[in-house]
């Protein structure tokens, strides 16, 4: 560091402060990793397995719980508590062989009966992903270590779901316990240290002895520190207080890099407009495919990427990511930026004077982004009015309050998952429950999987882009940073790696 007046001042102050003697205490260079500190951008919703959330919260659960199956970083299904799995011919009956001799941290044994209960409780629970098991009609313990699931229709994503929250296995003792939300009892690699934990701030885990898979216990102790504030998170990174974290914003990547962190990028979400009222139920104009296409043409995706996310992403017009079978590179450029074409389309649709859309504006994203997009759309004759909303935003959104709105949705690893998330008539993000015969026909083919399923998913992608159900801007890079003592392998479709893919660097 160059000597500067500020530095001189600091040195003077240092002389006055007796506390500085202990400032070299954080052993960042020690050889044996004692502890992993993970910075978490989201808080844990609940420990109750039946109500659990996933996505950004997956790390919390992966520390304490086992799932029936696991997915590796590339999305391949691997054994978890279930060692073998097989479907029948009709693809509606799934048999799982369970690992023997597994116990929960409270000593209770894990068996088929427990697994069945966990599955049914999740299906009927309050998790936002409860619908992931909606195809399961029946679950049965055939014997102590065999579970059989009966489905009402084939579900190509079921195995993946069982490696997520739907497959979480909690001790039956917690099922009706009052403190299930705060006191997890799982069979996983770590147990929660309740003494050291501060709910909604810091969660501390210690490695469990005699865990069946010691290979995933890479640290004796893990601390997951929740940073509600982006600035605080960045300060923690700059101050070297975390080993690994998922940054709030791409604007912080440069800071993290200059603080000596490795930056891992991977496309996670697509950011864009959901043109939800494609049936024209509330806003007639949005029901017209030409209007929706006009909106797509009105977007200068490159410019938006640079302006809003500093280039950390890839412009696209499709909602399926490159890791998905449905992905088609050509579709990224399906709607080049063309305000004139946009106006033409509007005119053809019968809106020569343009249209006006009302969109929700929240404090979750910077106001500047909203105005930037609104300004861009206005050039093509599409005026956007802001409606300011508070915490009821999500509920209203899913209730269909706004025909079009801006959001960022996960790019699921499997096309079927994307379908379940945002396309199926009963999916959460198809907020007006729009049902399209073409889409449904393709979905039936996807459901059966195989080559034809993959082909159908590509057709679906093409159809959705052509019909302009969405107006994506770009695929946003998820940014995970690791310090010098840590490495992480990115997991397809998700922001954070699997817990066991975060490893010490020797």
């Amino acid at each position: 560091m160059k000597p500067s007046p500020l530095h001189a001042l600091a040195v003077t102050l240092a002389a006055l402060l007796p506390l500085t003697a202990c400032s070299n205490g954080s052993g960042s260079d020690s050889e044996q990793p004692e502890e992993l500190v993970v910075g978490m951008p989201v808080d844990l919703t609940t420990w109750a397995a039946a109500d659990a959330a996933w996505g950004n919260e997956a790390l919390y659960h992966q520390a304490v719980y086992d799932t029936l199956l696991r997915t590796d970083a590339q999305g391949g299904v691997e054994p978890g508590l279930a060692t073998e799995w097989s479907y029948d011919e009709s693809m509606t009956r799934l048999t799982l062989e369970l690992r023997e001799g597994v116990t929960f941290s409270d000593g209770t044994a894990f068996d088929a009966e427990v697994a069945v209960q966990n599955l049914l409780r999740f299906r009927d629970g309050a998790s936002e992903n409860a619908a992931n098991l909606s195809s399961v009609v029946e679950a049965e313990a055939v014997d102590a270590d065999t579970v059989e699931l009966t489905l009402d229709a084939p579900d190509p994503a079921l195995l993946t779901y069982l490696s997520h929250n739907a497959g979480l296995q909690a001790s039956p003792e917690t099922f009706d316990a009052e403190d299930a939300q705060v006191r997890p009892v799982g069979s996983g690699p770590y147990v929660l240290d309740e003494e050291a934990t501060v709910v909604s701030s810091r969660y501390v885990f210690t490695a469990r002895e005699d865990y069946w898979d010691p290979e995933v216990q890479l640290y004796p102790k893990i601390t997951m520190q929740y940073y509600p504030d982006a600035t605080a998170m960045l300060n923690a990174v700059k101050g070297g207080q975390v080993n690994v974290t998922n940054l709030h914003s791409s604007s912080q990547a440069a800071d993290a890099e200059s603080a000596g962190y490795d930056v891992h990028l991977s496309p996670v979400n697509w950011k864009g407009l959901i043109l939800a009222d494609r049936g024209g139920e509330v806003e007639e104009a949005v029901g017209d495919v030409r209007v929706r296409q006009a909106i797509n043409h009105a977007l200068d995706r490159e410019a938006l990427l640079d302006a809003m996310d500093h280039g950390y992403g890839e412009p696209t017009a499709q909602i399926f990511g490159p890791d998905s079978e449905a992905y088609a590179e050509a579709l990224d450029d399906a709607y080049p930026y063309d305000p004139d074409r946009a106006r033409e389309l509007l005119e053809e649709a019968g809106y020569p004077d343009g249209i006006t859309l009302v969109q929700p504006q929240t404090s979750f994203t910077p106001a500047s982004e909203f105005e930037l997009i609104a300004g861009m759309l206005a050039e093509s004759g599409i005026d956007v009015e802001a409606e300011h909303v508070g915490s009821t935003f999500i509920g209203d959104l899913l209730g269909g309050a706004w025909p079009t709105f801006r959001f960022a949705l996960n790019q699921e690893p499997l096309p079927w998952m994307t379908y379940r998330l945002a396309i199926a008539p009963d999916s959460a993000w198809n907020v007006y429950d729009v049902e399209d015969p073409t889409v449904e026909k393709l979905a039936e083919r996807m459901r059966l999987g195989g080559e034809d399923g993959a082909a159908a998913s590509r057709e679906l992608n093409e159809y959705l882009v052509e019909q302009a159900w969405f107006a994506p801007f770009y695929r946003l890079q998820g940014i995970v940073v690791t310090d010098g003592s840590t490495d992480a392998t990115h997991k397809v479709g998700y922001a954070m790696p699997n817990l066991w893919d975060i490893v010490p660097v020797s």
């Binding site: 604007s251 440069a254 410019a303 302006a307 500047s368 909203f370 930037l372 300004g375 300011h388 508070g390």
Partner: protein, 580 residues
């Protein structure tokens, strides 16, 4: 006494204030920008352009563009309007509820007062952030709403100030006088009470506006602002978001915010200085040297004096002055005084004649900044002017003693009589705690206090005025001083008590063989106890001599006038037709 805010020349006075003038100018400028912001802004502050995202300063866009590609300068200008208006809303709402509440509670008292105090406590114990957030979730993110709620939350600031001012004013006879003039309550409040709270309200307001602007910035920082309203705080928090890419985006709003708040606070300080008259006097370096008055006062008229006792105190050509503005206010000009051993010397004059200041000069205890600027004070052969602190202390504790005018205000209310009585005995005279206590109790008994033990343990407010004066006299004579300076020692007492205290003084003088310089305005007191008298007028001793001689044959016109003015006490004849 408070000077009203409207008195001519507050603005000129502010402009002369060293920190007030730049602050005032800045605030006026900021307000002008706020008012004209809409027209001043070179570009549409909400227009976005991808090309302008994070653009560096250019000829077209002086301060460049922000993260959304908006013109930073235009936003800064328009944000001034919203930021200042937000601060104003805070102040307006806080003032509205605080002033109304404070007025009502202070004026009516009783249950209104109780209710007001309780409501204030309620508002103050409510967690501000939670309330702000709850209001925000309830009614949506509106800058004005948040500011109004914040205004309500800090209204106790006004409430307290107004309440205290009103309480003080309501004790003033002029409010009683208004009541007895037949003014209605609303009119009394409007005409008399409001006038008195105006100054403190103006003072508080500049701080509250600043607090409001600061709060707005904090809310924006927490992401709780109103995203559609451009404010400095919002620009700042957006700037923080992109600090690594473009630190200038933090700089501009910080400057606007910081300078405005500093200006407001400084303006408030300057206002306080000017309204409360606490502006610091110019430092000595810049003060013109003291000069005597141009016209020489006439010399003292000395009556013939047979007193041959040795001189104890000799004051010659004494002048006392206080710093005022860049110069001096002279309160004593050329004062001459001779006090002999064993003499009781009365120093008579009207208020403002400089008699007390002469006495304080002898004690070396002139008020803040005051000093003996000319002449000499010789006590027991020692020159007192220019004597260092330690030596003066040694004299004060032992050889010169002082009895003040107001017995109650001259005892420290926070300490028992015993504590403040014995402390000087131990520190100055080096007595042990036990000795000091015995001395004190003996002296308390000596000055005629019936139950010395009880008084020793008492706090001043538990004593009557006469009792307190006896305590002060006992404490003054504890060291057996050569000279006792008594400044109107009986003026605050009832006549019957006055007579007793004068008797006590007379006895002590005989007993301890001390000289007394007795400052008084009453010739009756002089006639009662003094063997010598000096008359002061307008800072000068005009006549001096033995009491009998001066009272019987005053020679100076002023003395004559004074003696003639004493109410003659001619009885008024009974009214015609009075019943016996």
């Amino acid at each position: 006494m408070s000077t009203p805010a409207s008195s001519p020349g507050l603005v000129p006075r502010l402009l002369r204030h060293p920190l007030g003038s730049p602050a005032l100018v800045f605030v006026v400028l900021a307000v002008a920008v706020a008012v004209a912001g809409r027209w001043l802004a070179p570009h549409d502050p909400t227009a976005t352009s991808v090309a302008l995202v994070m653009a560096p300063p250019s000829a077209e866009h002086w301060l460049g563009g922000d993260a959304a590609g908006r013109d930073v300068l235009s936003r800064l200008v328009v944000a001034t309007t919203y930021s200042l208006a937000g601060g104003m809303v805070v102040a307006a709402l806080a003032a509205l509820s605080g002033v109304t509440g404070g007025l009502a509670a202070g004026y009516f008292g009783g249950w209104v007062d109780t209710a007001g105090a309780w409501l204030t406590a309620l508002v103050m114990s409510a967690p501000a952030m939670v309330i702000l957030l709850a209001a925000r979730t309830a009614f949506g993110p509106s800058l004005w709403l948040s500011m109004a709620v914040f205004g309500a939350l800090i209204s106790p600031v006004y409430y307290r100030v107004v309440y205290n001012a009103v309480r003080a004013v309501c004790g003033e006879p002029y409010v009683d006088a208004a009541r007895t003039s037949g003014l209605s309550t609303p009119r009394i409040i409007a005409r008399h009470v409001l006038l008195a709270v105006r100054a403190p309200v103006i003072l508080v307001s500049s701080g509250v506006v600043a607090a409001g602007i600061g709060m707005m910035a904090a809310l924006d920082f927490l992401g709780l602002g109103s995203p559609s309203t451009p404010t400095w705080g919002q620009m700042l928090s957006e700037g923080f978001y992109d600090m690594a890419r473009n630190p200038l985006l933090v700089l501009w709003p910080s400057l606007a915010l910081g300078l405005t708040m500093v200006a407001l606070v400084l303006l408030g300080n300057a206002l306080r200085d000017e309204l409360e008259g606490t502006s610091a006097p110019a430092p000595d370096g810049r003060r013109a040297p003291w000069r005597p008055r141009s016209e020489e006062p006439p010399r003292v008229i000395e009556h013939g004096d047979a007193d041959e006792r040795p001189v104890l105190l000799s004051v010659r050509d004494l002048a006392v002055a206080y710093p005022r503005g860049g110069g001096w206010t002279t309160v004593v000009h050329r004062s001459d005084l001779t006090v002999r051993r064993g003499q009781v010397h009365g120093l008579v004059g009207e208020s403002g004649s400089g008699k007390s200041q002469t006495a304080f000069a002898v004690l070396g205890l002139l008020g803040q900044g005051g000093r003996a600027v000319a002449g000499s004070i010789v006590f027991g052969g020692q020159e007192l002017t220019g004597l260092d602190e330690a030596r003066m202390n040694a004299l004060r504790g032992r050889r010169i003693a002082y009895v003040p005018q107001e017995p109650m205000s001259n005892l420290d209310p926070a300490f028992t009589v015993g504590a403040q009585f014995t402390d000087p005995l131990r520190v100055v005279l080096g007595r042990s705690a036990k000795e000091a206590r015995r001395t004190a109790l003996d002296l308390l008994a000596r000055v005629g206090i019936p139950d010395p033990e009880r008084v020793y343990r008492s706090y001043p407010h538990q004593l009557s005025g006469g009792m307190a004066q006896r305590v002060l006299i006992a404490a003054a004579v504890a060291a057996g001083p050569d000279l006792l300076i008594a400044d109107e020692p009986t003026t605050a007492l009832d006549v019957t008590v006055q007579a007793e205290v004068l008797d006590l003084l007379r006895e002590l003088i005989d007993e301890l063989d001390m000289s007394v310089l007795l400052v008084t305005h009453s010739f009756g007191v002089v006639a009662d106890i003094c063997d010598h008298v000096s008359v002061m007028s307008d800072g000068t001793v005009v006549e001096s001599g033995p009491t009998r001689s001066v009272l019987a044959g005053p020679r100076h016109p002023y003395t004559r006038e004074l003696l003639a003015a004493i109410p003659r006490g001619n009885p008024r004849p009974p009214l015609e037709g009075a019943r016996p």
